[in-house]
Structure formats: structure tokens, C-alpha cells
């Protein structure tokens, strides 16, 4: 019994305290070493980043007539030792109809199904946690998509193929196909679109932060592209604007390859071809009968109108000088502005606005073309510096609400890369403030937000021009000018000869050389479609007959896609979001389309990741757009943690004090008879006396 009493409560407490002290010591060493290697800031050059996941992209494009079928294959490679989940955001062409996705794991091929976003996410999460290979494809914005691929094993490669339809563009007698490859960085320090807290111009749309890096690994972000152009026509020209390509004639057209095997996904791809015949078609009508209904696509491209003395105009240029325009983009914008001034007619008036976080107006009201004003404008353009955030709304407001000048048609030419987060709000503003003005958008740079630019022009009843490179400025601006100068065909009506559901429902003004696309669902096969309108006050008419044997099932998909777009657009004008969601979801599930409310998900049958292994998530960065002068740097460790150390020292001090209180020295003191008032004896030192006093106080 006596032995057991050896460990009295004081001893136990002492032991506990010692253990605690030991733990604290270890903890202190841990935090100190953890800090060491995180310190310092590094520039990440080529191959600088240490990611374990790599991605390479392969595109197979088949162009038939006015429709392109594109298969994008993303190969995700996990070079690390652990299991990974890859997250990758990427852009697709405007108005793409994504309708298929397959995944290849080893020799197995998984086919995705379309589901409501919520259900798809749930299925993905379940498969992810049970260790199965699974993939989720979601649409985040009009032209922004995200793939999530879970359970990629160590040193494993999984390929994801996404298939979609895109429309071939046709303008001024030339066809073109644009495929974007990267984004303009939306996360830009100081760009109001992403500010948190300080400003009221903060984006109402939750902005998804896209990760950018210059640090593509040595085996990363490569692009392989292969185009099968099936055109029955002899071509006058065929060229790729931003990439070197090899072209070979094939059985039913041409095959186009990238010439440089080192091509990366850092710029838009654009292919342009012009058929070798003098007069271009004014309209094309093709149909597809699926048994239940007939789907039709109608393209209208009126030739340039007869020279009519153009109406004098008031042209207001708005130029974006936010930070994301720095570098080549601003140089292009300046050149476009200078070019724009040259095109003005002698009865025209003009004005200039530049904006970043603030907007600046050159003249309080638009001025005629007198030399002093022109010189002032040129100096204004010369002085532009790219700097700060992108606060578009006040600039648009300023332009659309300038004092009206009698007899002048106001045309606003808006030059920007369109990297904004509050697109919907801006579009609504344009719709509300436009009145009789017309808005023409000019997008700049290698990764403009062309969805926004196109929509803005659509709502602004003008049109959209893109300038990808400095040497295109003159060509693009002269094209824009021929549109601006020539009168448009207004009040367009379409007679299908029967009840028809067609989109867009409100047919926009038709500009010379700028085609119009309509998609319709009809009860039976049309014979002839008549289009009427008004040109400079006089009636105008055109009719079109069906091109036999060209249409295929893609027309149904494209019709559904344009109906979805029309539904989405009605949100801008106040349609009930719940109604839109339901209508779009139903349509998307019926036609198997990816939309903001429906996602594609595929799940492997058997788990591949063993139960015990953990899964790491990694976001694959996008390349910075080529031509943007930006570089990136990682963050340094900017805390010393001295407060924690101080707290630690107090805790140890506390422990030491407790130990002192419990130690035999103080216990000895406590065993003595009460010594209140007793003068210090030699055997008790100062500390002991304090402790004794303390204990007496506590008793």
C-alpha cells in the first residue's frame, strides 16, 4: 500500500506537465522547420512550376459546309506518386453545342451521360470517394467549361474526348472558324470585376478564379490540331491566321495540320477560306427531317448595297485602358483608334472616351473634324497607358448619354478585350440606354471575351469585329467602317410559308457583308423562304430555296442550342430565372446538350484507387495569352509567427511556475508551521517565501 502512495497527485501533475513541455518543444521545432523552405519569392520561368499533373490537347476538326464538328481530346497525365484529381478550365468557341464526351482509361472506354447539374455532381462525388475513375464536365459561363477528373493513378494517363458542334462564320465572301485556347486573366489585381468588398461595382456574378501560369512543364500544354475541310468548292485562299500550318489536298477537300510540333495552347486558332467564285451566295437554306419535325438553318448574306450618300454620324470611340490591355493589346487599340479617325467623313462628328477604374471623356460634346480637335484627339490617344481595373459601366453610360446632336446617327465604337465579370449587368445597361444609338464592338488581343463582345453588339444593334494581331488593324477597321457607313436593312421579317419556331426571334438589323443565321423547327419541309425588310425607307426582299442533301442531324442540335441561347438571353431582359432554368434543362436533356444547368458525367464500373490511398486535388493552370506582357510570381511567406512564439513562452513559463509550486522545495515550505509575520530564516530563499505567501493566500 505504501508503495502505491509513492506517486502522489503532485508527482502525477509534475509528470503530466513535463510531458506537456516536451510536446511544446517538439511543436516549436516543427513550426520552425515548416517555415524554412516556404520563404522567398521566385519567378517561375519555363518549367519552373512543380506540378505533378500535365495536360495536352488534341483537336480533330471536321468541317462540312457551314458546320464544324470538333473533338477535343485532353490527355491528363499524373507524373506524381499519389492519386490525383485534376481540375481544368478551358474555353470553347461561342455558341458551341457540346453533345458528347467519352473517357479512355487503359483499354476501356466510358461514355458519359447528360444529367441535371446537381445529380451529375452527386454521382461524381460518390464515384470519386469510392475510388472509381470519374469525370464531370460543366459549363461555367457562356464560353467557359471545366473538366474534373478524379482518381488518376500514379504515372497514369487518362484521356477525355469532348465533342461539340461550332458554326462556321461567313463574312464578306470568306468562311472562318475560330477556336479559342486560353483566357484573358480575369483575376487581375485591381480589376473591379473581382474586387471583394471595397467597391460597389463588384461583380454580381461569382467570378471563378482561373489559375494562370507561365510555368508549363516540359511535357505540358501542347496542342495537336488536325482539320478535315470538306468543301466541294475550289478555293481562292486558305490560311491560318496565327499558326503555321501544312495544307494537303484530300479526296473531298483539304487536310490541314499544324506545322510546328511545339505549338502550345496559348493563342486562338483561326482558319479562313475563300471560295474561288466571283459572286457569293446571298442566302443558304438547308434542312433535316427527323420524322417528327423538320429542322432548318437559313443563312442570309446580302451583298453590299448600292452607294447611297451615307447619313452623317456622330462616332464615339470608347477604349479600354485597364491593366489587362497592357502590351500588344493597347498598341493595337491605339492603331485602331488612329485608323478610325482617318475614316471619318467631313460631316461627321466624333468624341473619345478611355476608361480603366475611372472614365475620361475628351470633349464635353462631340466635335466636328477640325484640325485642332483632331490634333487634340491624336495627343489623347498617344498618351494612353494601360493601368488599373476594368470599370466599363460608367464609360458606356457616358457615351450613350452624351448630348444629342440633331440629324446625326450616334454610333459607339467600343474597343476592349472584354475581361469583365459582370457581363449580364453590362448587357442590360446597353439594352436600357441604347435608344437610337448603335454599338459596334471591337475585340482586341489573343484571348478576348468574345461571347460578351458579340452579345453586346447584338443588343447594341451593331456588330462585332475582332483584331487578333497588329497587322490586322487596317483590314479589320476598314471592314468595320464599310459596315458603319453603309445603311443596314432594318425591320426584317421572315416568311417560312408555315407556322415556325425560329431563333433568334427578334431578327437583328442586317449589315452589308454581315450574315444572319436563323434556326427553325418546322412541321414539314419548306419549299421557299421569303425574307423582307426595309433599306433606307424602301422595301427590300429576298427569297431562298432548300439546298438538297446537305443538312444532317446536326441541324437539330444547333436549333436546340440557339433556342437555349435565346432563353438565356431573355434573362437579361427580366425573364423569371426559374422558368428559364426549367425550360433550358428540359431542352438540354432532350437533345443531350451541355448547359449551365446540365452536366456530363461518366463513372468507371470498378474502383481503381485502393481504400487507404488519399486523393489530391490539383488545378491545372492556363497559359497566359500570347502577346500579353504579363509574367507571374508566386507569393512569399509573409508572417514571422512571433506572437505564437510569445504565447508559447508564456505557456512554458506557466508550466515552470506550476512545477515550482508542486516541487518538494515548496512542499517542504508548506509543511512548516504557519509563519505569518515570521522574519525570514536563512533556509528559505526569496522565491520560496513568495510561493509560501502565495499558498497562504490561496488557502
Amino acid at each position: 500500500m505504501r508503495q502505491k502512495r509513492l506517486l502522489r497527485w503532485q508527482d502525477r501533475a509534475l509528470l503530466t506537465l513535463s510531458a506537456l513541455l516536451l510536446l511544446l518543444l517538439i511543436f516549436r521545432i516543427e513550426t520552425a522547420t515548416a517555415q524554412e523552405d516556404q520563404w522567398g519569392l521566385e519567378f517561375q520561368g519555363d518549367g519552373g512550376s512543380q506540378r505533378s499533373l500535365a495536360i495536352n490537347t488534341e483537336m480533330q476538326v471536321t468541317i462540312t459546309g457551314l458546320v464544324a464538328r470538333i473533338d477535343v481530346t485532353q490527355a491528363f497525365r499524373n507524373g506524381g506518386r499519389g492519386w490525383s484529381e485534376a481540375i481544368y478550365r478551358f474555353p470553347l468557341p461561342d455558341g458551341s453545342a457540346v453533345d458528347r464526351m467519352t473517357v479512355q482509361v487503359g483499354t476501356r472506354i466510358l461514355v458519359s451521360e447528360i444529367q441535371e447539374k446537381r445529380d451529375a455532381r452527386r454521382q461524381y462525388q460518390q464515384a470519386k470517394s469510392s475510388g472509381k475513375v470519374t469525370i464531370l464536365l460543366e459549363q461555367q459561363r457562356a464560353n467557359q467549361f471545366e473538366t474534373r477528373l478524379a482518381n488518376i493513378g500514379p504515372n497514369e494517363e487518362i484521356t477525355v474526348s469532348i465533342s461539340f458542334l461550332a458554326r462556321v462564320d461567313y463574312r464578306d465572301g470568306s468562311f472562318s472558324l475560330r477556336i479559342p485556347m486560353t483566357f484573358t486573366p480575369r483575376w487581375d489585381r485591381g480589376a473591379p470585376a473581382i474586387l471583394s468588398g471595397f467597391f460597389n461595382e463588384t461583380s454580381p456574378v461569382p467570378t471563378v478564379m482561373t489559375v494562370f501560369g507561365t510555368g508549363a512543364g516540359p511535357n505540358d500544354h501542347y496542342l495537336d490540331l488536325n482539320i478535315d475541310l470538306r468543301t466541294g468548292l475550289k478555293l481562292a485562299s486558305l490560311e491560318s491566321r496565327y499558326h503555321d500550318v501544312d495544307i494537303q489536298p484530300s479526296l473531298n477537300g483539304y487536310t490541314i495540320y499544324l506545322a510546328d510540333p511545339d505549338t502550345r495552347t496559348d493563342r486562338v486558332f483561326e482558319l479562313t477560306w475563300t471560295p474561288d467564285f466571283g459572286t457569293s451566295p446571298e442566302s443558304t437554306l438547308m434542312t433535316f427531317d427527323d420524322g417528327d419535325a423538320v429542322y432548318a438553318m437559313l443563312m442570309l448574306a446580302p451583298p453590299l448595297a448600292e452607294a447611297i450618300r451615307p447619313q452623317p454620324r456622330e462616332v464615339v470611340f470608347i477604349v479600354d485602358t485597364s491593366g489587362s490591355m497592357a502590351g500588344v493589346s493597347l498598341t493595337q487599340a491605339k492603331a485602331a483608334l488612329m485608323q478610325g479617325l482617318d475614316y471619318l467623313g467631313e460631316d461627321d462628328r466624333f468624341n473619345l472616351i478611355h476608361f480603366n477604374s475611372d472614365s475620361h471623356l475628351l470633349f464635353p460634346q462631340s466635335m466636328p473634324l477640325y484640325t485642332p480637335y483632331l490634333l487634340e484627339a491624336e495627343a489623347f490617344i498617344d498618351d494612353l497607358v494601360a493601368n488599373g481595373g476594368t470599370n466599363m459601366a460608367p464609360a458606356l453610360d457616358m457615351a450613350l448619354n452624351l448630348p444629342l446632336q440633331a440629324g446625326l446617327l450616334r454610333q459607339v465604337v467600343f474597343i476592349t478585350d472584354g475581361s469583365v465579370g459582370n457581363e449580364g449587368e453590362l448587357l442590360l445597361q446597353i439594352g436600357e440606354e441604347l435608344r437610337d444609338s448603335r454599338l459596334f464592338t471591337v475585340s482586341i488581343g489573343s484571348a478576348p471575351n468574345s461571347w460578351f463582345m458579340r452579345k453586346a453588339a447584338e443588343i447594341g444593334r451593331g456588330n462585332h469585329t475582332h483584331i487578333g494581331r497588329l497587322n490586322e488593324v487596317e483590314e479589320s477597321m476598314s471592314r468595320l467602317w464599310s459596315r458603319i457607313q453603309n445603311p443596314a436593312i432594318k425591320n426584317i421579317c421572315v416568311d417560312w410559308g408555315m407556322e415556325a419556331e425560329f431563333y433568334p426571334e427578334i431578327v437583328p438589323d442586317l449589315y452589308a457583308g454581315e450574315p444572319l443565321w436563323l434556326y427553325a423547327r418546322l412541321p414539314f419541309q419548306p419549299v421557299e423562304v421569303t425574307i423582307c425588310g426595309e433599306l433606307e425607307g424602301r422595301p427590300w426582299e429576298l427569297s431562298s430555296t432548300v439546298l438538297p442533301g446537305v443538312g444532317n442531324e446536326n441541324l437539330a442540335t444547333l436549333w436546340a442550342r440557339s433556342k437555349i441561347e435565346a432563353l438565356e438571353d431573355s434573362r437579361i431582359f427580366g425573364e423569371d430565372p426559374g422558368f428559364i432554368r426549367d425550360a433550358v434543362t428540359d431542352l438540354a436533356l432532350e437533345f443531350g446538350l451541355l448547359t449551365p444547368y446540365t452536366s456530363m458525367v461518366a463513372v468507371d464500373a470498378t474502383p481503381s484507387r485502393p481504400q487507404g490511398e488519399t486523393l489530391n486535388s490539383e488545378e491545372i493552370p492556363n497559359l497566359l495569352p500570347a502577346g500579353s506582357s504579363a509574367t507571374t510570381a508566386s507569393f512569399s511567406q509573409t508572417a514571422t509567427g512571433w506572437v505564437a512564439q510569445l504565447m508559447l513562452s508564456f505557456i512554458t513559463l506557466l508550466i515552470a511556475t506550476c512545477m515550482l509550486l508542486l516541487s518538494p522545495l515548496s512542499r517542504k515550505g508548506g509543511a512548516r508551521p504557519p509563519m505569518t509575520g515570521e522574519k525570514g530564516s536563512g533556509s528559505i530563499n526569496q522565491a520560496e517565501r513568495i510561493i509560501v505567501a502565495h499558498r497562504a493566500f490561496l488557502d
Binding site: 474586387l195 471595397f198 497607358v385
Partner: protein
Amino acid sequence: MKQTRHWLQAAALFTAAFFSLLYLVSALWIPAKAELAQWLIERSWQQAQQGNENARPWPWADTRAVGVLSVPGLGIRQIILEGNSGRNLAFGPVLLDGEVGHDLVISGHRDTHFHFLKDLEAGDRLIVQTLDRTQQYRVIASEIVDSRTAELVIEPGTSRISLVTCYPFDAPLAGGPLRYVVTALPVADRLSLAAIGQVRPTAAKP
């Protein structure tokens, strides 16, 4: 038996006292060093302004003063050091070097020099004085970003300043992934003055 126990207890007591003192000194040494170093650096900055551009704060220092950051509204005046390394961060805010042009990035510790960032608000004025110029800035934004998924985009063609520190400000432990970024843009540059018509008179109609 009893003797051994006393010895052990004494040893534990001594260890506890020793470490608590050690921690106390090493913890307090950090803010003390941060404060003291600024005094020494101040002297080398004075020398640098008088033409001795390579003046070192102390003979063995591997950094030099490159400018002064001041916030008149908060009574802050700090010398900026060259070279973004952990060692330099202990002595003062540091300037990110590289191809940055006028897009300056200055980092500082959240619990020493850059603690004041939490008091900066949109509209506050900053002044950065370097050897060749003095520029006034206006704070336009503060953001919290995750350093695991984001990188700083640097655009050499842009004139702006970003102050970077760790976040949250009062977390006791160092090493968290969040960063607090304050962005400021130059004020009163020629362009904006011209545009609001203070410099350039609006021409009368001919």
C-alpha cells in the same frame, strides 16, 4: 529513491525555466529586430540619396535600401529593401525584383512591418519614393487570395503598386496559404488631369 525524484524534478523545472526564457527572448527578438533594423537601414538610405548607391545598412548585409514607403494617414514610414528573401523580410518590406517595370510588388510580414495593411482602405494615399522619383498612389482594392491556386500577374507595362502580406492578420501561426493584397494606382498623372479638363482647356467652337 526520494533523492532521485528530487533530482528529476529539479531538472524538469530547470528545463521549463530555460525554454520559457529562450522562447521569450527569441519571440521578442523578431519585432525588436524589425524595429532596430529600420534605424540602421535609415542611415544607409540617407547615404544612398547622397549618391552612395551601394551603401549597406551594416557591413555584412546582403541587401540595400531602394526606397521609402509612407502612408501619411497612418503615420507609417518604412524603408524598402532590395531582394525578396526570408532574411530580408525580417528587416523590412522588400521589393520583388525582376522584369517588373513600374508594376511594383512589395511584400512584408503581417505581424511586423505590414500589420498596418489591415487599416488601409480604398482611397488612402501611399507615397513611394525611390532614388529616381517620388510617386503618389491611391489604394483602389484589397483582396484575399489563396497562394496555392493563384500567382501574382505582373504586367511590366502597368504602373501600379501591390502590397502583399499574409492573412489572416491575427493568426498566431505562420505558414498559412492566404495572402492579403492591397492594390494602389498612381494619382494625379498627366493623363487623368488632362481628361477632366484641368490641364487641357476645352477648345471653343470655331
